[in-house]
Symmetry: C2
Subunit: 271 residues, 2 copies
């Protein structure tokens, strides 16, 4: 019953003998636990989310921004290497017919002080060569499954501010795949609700000192098949393999990048 997710735009894909995520028909997303500390970090993070559930203070976690977590489970790995432990999560794309999907890695620094020197150097080089340092985020993947528009990941990484504006405009246009000017037909239907959600997320990041999110992505989804009837806008955070405790400070790195992305969205909504 397990299959490869149809609309994954970033991260390792489970194909051609590669270990990657799987989904079932009941709306669950199975993400293989990554090696080194990443797998255990993500399990720790999802587990701690539930344990904080009842805290009533400024750190109270807006759980609606996170995929539901259903523990871990050994399942047959996508690379046919046998049983492998997986996180069992909510399949965020379940129920969408023709989703438009965007994955935005937030923050101008994708590494933290706990990481190894090798990992820091690798991330820093990539951050410097991508839009991560200039813009405070990078678009890791985007797809319009109705018009089959899916720019290469490589072309997305080095986007200038101008390039980001163009991708955002296409993302909310009737036909993203054409070379003609994007009509931005769904800008208010999509970016309106997205912006509302992101301002709520921002308000939390201005006060929460529980976690710092490195290399974490914002996932934006809407239903393109019948967008005028129901756009089903979804805004979630995904990928928590590099989350660390906040140690008394807000996550200024994520917050700065989020504010930068919000500014682009506001401009896309109002022009």
């Amino acid at each position: 019953m397990m299959k490869v997710p149809e609309h994954q735009v970033a991260g390792h894909k489970a194909k051609e003998g590669v270990l990657g995520p799987l989904v079932d028909e009941r709306g669950r997303f199975y993400k293989p636990l990554q090696n080194e500390d990443r797998g255990s970090t993500e399990v720790w993070f999802y587990s701690s989310l539930s344990s904080h559930r009842n805290k009533e203070n400024e750190n109270e976690i807006p759980l609606a921004f996170f995929p539901a977590f259903h523990g871990t489970k050994e399942v047959e790995a996508s690379d046919c290497s046998g049983l492998h432990p997986h996180l069992v999560l909510e399949d965020l794309l379940h129920g969408y017919a023709k989703p438009s999907v965007m994955d935005v890695k937030i923050g101008s620094r994708t590494w933290n002080l706990r990481d190894s020197e090798d990992y820091i150097n690798k991330c820093l080089a990539k951050d410097r060569d991508s839009s991560t340092i200039p813009l405070g985020f990078r678009i890791s993947g985007v797809k319009d499954s109705l018009s089959s528009w899916e720019p290469s990941r490589k072309s997305l990484q080095t986007l200038s501010a101008h390039g980001v504006v163009s991708i955002l405009n296409k993302f909310v246009s009737s036909d993203a795949s054409t070379d003609s000017l994007p009509d931005c037909a769904f800008a208010s239907q999509v970016f309106g609700p997205v912006l509302d959600r992101l301002l709520q997320l921002k308000a939390w990041f201005e006060v929460q000192t529980l976690y710092h999110f490195y290399s974490c992505s914002l996932l934006l989804v809407y239903e393109k098949e019948d967008v005028d009837r129901e756009s089903k806008v979804l805004v979630k955070l995904v990928d928590f393999a590099h989350v660390v405790p906040g140690n008394g400070a807000i996550d200024h790195n994520f917050l700065g990048g989020l504010c930068s992305f919000i500014k682009f969205l506001k401009d896309a909504l109002h022009h």
Copy 2:
């Protein structure tokens, strides 16, 4: 008539044959143009501030946050090396009898992509070893000229979140120099107005795409001699030797650090 500023807490000091800033009795601050591109960058920045003065849009610059600029002038250098070009600025400490002063370098990254590899590596090492990366800012200097409290710059650089709370509490206490618990007697008188100003500054940084400010400091001053009568709270930005054009993005690095500092101030004000 020129003399060494009495209450400078960060940056090069003009003493013992070192080139540093001077002040005159009329309230002007003479800052030597630094070598390499720094001096010319700062002249460019101050000049461009005035040229943007009449723009009525989201980039409209809140000029009250910047020292007034009176051009450049050749004056006798403090290291007795002869005439040297200086920026002529407003002396922000002019008119204070017993000022309490804090200099906070904002941002979790003090370098930018235009900098040389050597400079980037030097900054990155210092950012990693200081509170810059964990907290998104570092306190470069602090002084209470009434009680002669002035922690060493070195001790300030590596402050944890807990250490910052302690410095902030002392900064607004009757006698910062004692080892006893700070009384935080002036917390609301000082941090109240500071917070109001910083929230205005934050609102600008959420939209402005003119400049990115690296290695720039927030200068906080209040009059301690007769604080109950008039606290004369001052909030300014200083040091623009590493400002670069924004290129269509907000300054997410400065904004993130500013939000982090604001969170500490809010906590210091409300506890």
